[in-house]
């Protein structure tokens, strides 16, 4: 009888330890919030003397220039 009580006590203690240690395995979650930008505003690239606020024109120019980096469009691949 005494032996059974002692055995179940050890079992209970082991279970409690296991439950308590489970919490140690949890990873801390850091919630990150971006701060508010403190610097001067950034002018849009199309607000330049060259484009005078014409966003569409600037986008077309830049897209053509970017696509122009593809040498296969100039010399077709064999």
């Amino acid at each position: 009888m005494m032996w059974t009580v002692r055995k179940s006590g050890v079992g209970l203690a082991a279970l409690l330890c296991a439950v308590a240690l489970t919490a140690c395995g949890d990873k801390k979650v850091t919630v990150y919030e971006q701060g508010k930008y403190s610097g001067a505003p950034v002018a849009a690239p199309w607000d330049s003397p060259q484009y005078g606020g014409k966003q569409a024109q600037w986008e077309t120019t830049l897209e053509a220039r970017t696509a122009g980096q593809n040498d296969y469009s100039r010399i077709p691949a064999r």
């Binding site: 990150y32 970017t66 691949a77």
Partner: protein, 211 residues
């Protein structure tokens, strides 16, 4: 709206450092500061690869997250810029950046750091002022002139591509399709090792004839 990015094709980069020179020259970058540099992996070993590295203008930039004075901003076209008038030169961004992009000029004796300097995608910087003052602080603003960063425009083998992420990734994809290899040189598996594959830093396996 375009989302500006760089891609370097390691199969084309010949380690000429033309991009580094172009950047230094275009922006009058001071001695000791390199906004762009060429990194070679397995130098001298057959199959070595070089890539040109600068600020990658991350979509979720760690430098922005750690800056204690919040001097970083993302422009409308996705370029990460910083206001030098706000920067306190603490160096947190240098530790946070996985590419080593932030650079600090030696401003004086005893290792004192100046304000951070990095690639601006040739888009100048925040704020207004005389053109000369802006140039001295940030360098050229080629984007406002409808041009691309000079490093990419000067690249003789067109290894370094700059511009809207969608357009340049299509160019790179077409190259990989035409030559039948090259995609495996960049990416997560190459940097950190694929499960069951070669460890990171190992010389890339020959890919001739691989599909």
């Amino acid at each position: 709206m375009a989302r500006m990015k760089f891609i370097c094709d390691p199969n084309r980069c010949i380690e000429c450092n033309g991009c580094v020179t172009a950047c230094k020259n275009a922006n009058d970058v001071p001695w000791g500061v390199n906004r762009r540099r060429v990194v070679t992996l397995n130098d001298g070993v057959p199959g070595e690869r070089s890539i040109s590295v600068a600020c990658m203008h991350c979509s979720d930039a760690p430098c922005m997250a750690v800056c204690p004075v919040d001097c970083f901003v993302r422009s409308d076209d996705g370029v990460v810029l910083h206001d030098k008038d706000q920067c306190i030169g603490c160096g947190y961004c240098l530790y946070a950046c996985p590419f080593g992009a932030p650079q600090f000029p030696q401003a004086g004796a005893f290792g004192a750091r100046g304000k951070m300097d990095k690639c601006t995608f040739c888009q100048g910087g925040p704020g207004k002022g005389s053109e000369e003052a802006q140039y001295n602080k940030y360098g050229q603003n080629r984007i406002a002139e409808g041009k691309l960063p000079l490093c990419a425009e000067m690249c003789s083998t067109k290894a370094l591509l700059a511009g809207d992420g969608e357009v340049i990734s299509n160019i790179f994809r077409e190259r990989v399709t035409v030559r039948g290899k090259g995609a495996e040189v960049v990416g997560w598996a190459t940097a950190y090792g694929a499960p069951g594959g070669p460890k990171s830093g190992a010389a890339p396996a020959p890919t001739e004839g691989k599909k």
